[in-house]
């Protein structure tokens, strides 16, 4: 067991969940959380059917499924990127009130600096909103250990636990030592048969209990060993770090000897006793938070009348974006280091659609079909096809959150912008597009909806798409007329044909659905490779 594995933070979480006797993992893909579920799916435990592992249609369905498994007494995990927690917010918040039965961990992966996201919201805020304990690992080993701890805590205290990670931890590899494996739980329904019935009378009682438990959560934060106070001789400053900010602090002291008292925070609620200790013994405090200035704000208080608190709010640390060793050096008054500047001839190289990508031909046809109308009427969504916003396409006007294409097009059509076009991927359609389509059908809105069906969730690496093989049925099922559902082949060969259909449907005064369908080049290549392998290697059984 003491052999070190080189694991991504995501993989460390996945391996820990397997070792801790988890029975099921539910997720919707999203960078930087995707590799947790992928790792479990590839494990022998999942392939042999001992662990349920797979993709849900969206984060809300994933969260509820995991809660259902917890209800039965088994351990479950649900994983998502930070904005996914917004989608799952309803069951997430309410799960703190029902509480957990089998251990339940929600992993939310934040993306400060928005490497591949539309915002940099901090999941710790939602953890606090839900009054849930939050674990925020500082490194890969810590992430591994915290999953074991989180399941224990969840079961002993009867509460789901939020684990918040960020991109750097999720996608960085380091050595991890495993613990002993634990058997999965048997089915064992909640002792209190009302626990999961949130009728007001019960909800009020449960909510009171949740409030009462806050003190217990805090005492766990004090004794777990994850929050650590280390004294230092120089009391002119006390440094509080959260999550991986701690590593950047240490990076600036090669001998690992920090002159100041340091409070490392990795578990919430933050124990008051530890904060008091550092606050009372130091002249000023520097807060280094990977994310929003949450702790900093509460230390300052509304009027900021206490000791000097440095951090993101007074400009010692930039207000937004992820931290790095240099930012922390400057905050500590050390010298900034920098190599040569980037030569001016270095051009930027933004991501682009792959050569031959089906989306290219969907946009070519759409842009041409729309040429007789004014610009500004294409409401798009999130996926590879969002790159249609860039040169040379310049084909879309919006991208806000998953599913917003159809509903924003509806709102614009309601306002009189006719025709209004929605462009949405197949996975995004299943995730959050169907409900918007029902809104359109109900009011016969004049929207042309293009569902770009590349038969996969391409953006996040080619996970399967919940609506695969069912898109037309879903559309007719919610009431779109069969006469206004068209399947196109987005290839240069069919350009004229596709153009004619698009032009015709843009004129139609009702809901029409156009489905350009051709497999993503990347998954198609992967499938060819897999087939070749299957042919050359004799099957094992």
């Amino acid at each position: 067991m003491d052999q070190k594995l080189m694991l991504l933070g995501d993989e460390a979480i996945a391996q820990a969940a397997i070792d801790a006797g988890m029975s099921g993992i539910y997720a919707y893909p999203g960078t930087p959380s995707t590799e947790i579920t992928e790792y479990v799916m590839q494990s022998k435990e999942a392939r042999s059917g001992q662990i349920r592992a797979g993709w849900s249609t969206n984060e809300k369905t994933a969260m509820e499924s995991a809660l259902g498994m917890s209800y039965t007494g088994k351990r479950a995990m649900v994983c998502m990127k930070h904005v996914g927690l917004n989608v799952a917010a309803d069951p997430f918040i309410n799960s703190a009130i029902t509480g957990a039965n089998g251990g339940l961990i929600i992993v939310s992966a934040d993306d400060p600096s928005m490497h591949s996201s539309q915002n940099e919201q901090d999941s710790r805020v939602l953890g606090k909103f839900a009054l849930m304990p939050v674990l925020e690992p500082t490194n890969q080993q810590n992430a591994y250990d915290m999953v074991h701890y989180g399941f224990e805590m969840s079961e002993k205290l009867g509460v789901p636990v939020l684990m918040r990670i960020t991109t750097r931890l999720a996608h960085s590899r380091a050595g991890v030592i495993r613990k002993e494996s634990r058997k999965q739980n048997e089915i064992n329904l909640p002792k209190d048969s009302g626990q999961f019935i949130l009728l007001p009378a019960i909800a009020r009682r449960q909510y009171k209990e949740l409030l009462k438990k806050q003190e217990i959560f805090e005492s766990w934060s004090l004794t777990s060993g994850f929050n650590v106070f280390t004294d230092g001789d120089n009391k002119s400053l006390g440094v509080i770090t959260t999550g991986i900010a701690h590593n950047y602090l240490f990076e600036n002291y090669p001998d690992r000897h920090i002159p100041y008292p340091v409070l490392k925070v990795a578990q919430y609620p933050v124990p008051k006793a530890l904060v008091e200790k550092i606050y009372n013994s130091c002249d000023a405090i520097l807060v280094l938070e990977e994310g929003y200035p949450i702790l900093e704000e509460s230390l300052r208080g509304f009027l900021n009348l206490g000791k000097t608190i440095h951090g993101r709010l007074d400009g010692t640390v930039p207000r937004e974006g992820e931290l790095n060793p240099n930012i922390v050096a400057v905050a500590l008054g050390m010298e900034d280091t920098h190599g040569k500047d980037i030569p001016s001839i270095v051009a930027s190289r933004p991501p682009s659609l792959c050569k031959g990508c089906p989306h290219i031909y969907s946009y070519n046809a759409l842009t041409e079909a729309l040429s007789k109308w004014s610009k500004g009427r294409v409401f798009s969504d999130i996926g590879c096809y969002t790159l249609g916003a860039l040169d040379p396409f310049d084909a879309i006007n919006t991208c806000v959150d998953m599913g917003a294409s159809i509903t924003m097009a509806k709102g614009a059509a309601d306002a009189g912008l006719l025709p209004a076009v929605a462009v949405i991927g197949d996975s995004t359609f299943a995730h959050s597009g169907i409900t918007g389509l029902i809104d359109c059908v109900k009011e016969k809105s004049q929207v042309t909806i293009m569902i770009l069906d590349n038969e996969t969730t391409a953006m996040t690496g080619g996970q399967d798409s919940s609506a695969f093989g069912r898109i037309e049925d879903i559309c007719t099922g919610v009431g779109v007329s069969k006469d206004h559902i068209f399947v196109l082949n987005p290839s240069p060969k069919y350009h004229q044909e596709n153009l004619a259909i698009l032009k015709q449907e843009l004129d139609y005064q009702g809901v029409s659905v156009i489905i350009p369908r051709r497999e993503c080049i990347q998954t198609a290549l992967k499938h060819i490779k897999e087939n070749k392998k299957a042919e050359s290697v004799p099957s094992e059984n």
């Binding site: 590799e35 591949s116 590899r173 050595g175 590593n247 790095n324 040569k340 190289r349 953006m459």
Partner: protein, 194 residues
């Protein structure tokens, strides 16, 4: 001992194969290792980089501080320059000179080479050509790794062993092609590092 390495390239060029080989060799010699990878959106023909840190002591940060990297190893010439702010004053730039042109404003090759030459410590070679001459066009990354090998602080034999372990499953011939590529890159670097 520590080596902080920036790996650079374009999405799809497989820079992580270099990281994996260095990582395997480093772990085998009992060194500590941290490697921040890039996943997600930037994979589609955009620039990609990875921070690889090896040391004989525990490593704190996943990210290499600016101005402190010991090496940039790049499989594409323009990408090698993108990370200069991270490189320390005495650091080395090891790069492929074969351009990957998927943008319209790619700089002129002369200008690019002048910038690379302008940077003191550098090894620049057309790894694609070297690999092709060896009869294994696909091992250009191994040529680049070979060219970086004198600067890694890891015994060359450890790197060779790592290649044997990683490619072993694919048969002796593939192992040999990769070892030859590694050696060819190393020979070039040793002859040019003066």
């Amino acid at each position: 001992m520590k080596r902080d390495i920036i790996l650079a390239g374009v999405g799809g060029q497989g820079i992580l194969s270099i990281a994996t080989t260095i990582g395997a060799a480093a772990l085998n010699t009992g060194l500590h290792l941290k490697q921040a990878e890039v996943h997600g959106m930037s994979q589609r023909g955009g620039d990609v980089s990875s921070n690889l840190r090896i040391a004989d002591h525990e490593i704190a940060s996943d990210l290499i501080p600016y101005g402190k990297a010991d090496l940039i190893i790049s499989v594409e010439p323009m990408e090698s320059l993108r990370y200069l702010p991270l490189l320390s004053p005495g650091g080395w730039l090891i790069t492929n000179t074969k351009p990957f042109i998927n943008i319209t404003d790619y700089p002129k090759m002369e200008d690019l080479m002048a910038e690379i030459e302008n940077f003191g410590n550098h090894i620049a070679l057309d790894a694609d050509q070297v690999a092709k001459d060896l009869g294994s066009a696909r091992s250009a990354n191994m040529v680049i790794l070979g060219a970086a090998s004198p600067f890694l602080g890891i015994d060359f034999s450890e790197l060779q062993d790592a290649v044997r372990r990683i490619f072993g499953r694919k048969g002796d011939e593939i192992v040999k092609l990769n070892l030859d590529a590694l050696q060819a890159g190393r020979d070039y670097a040793l002859a040019h590092k003066n």
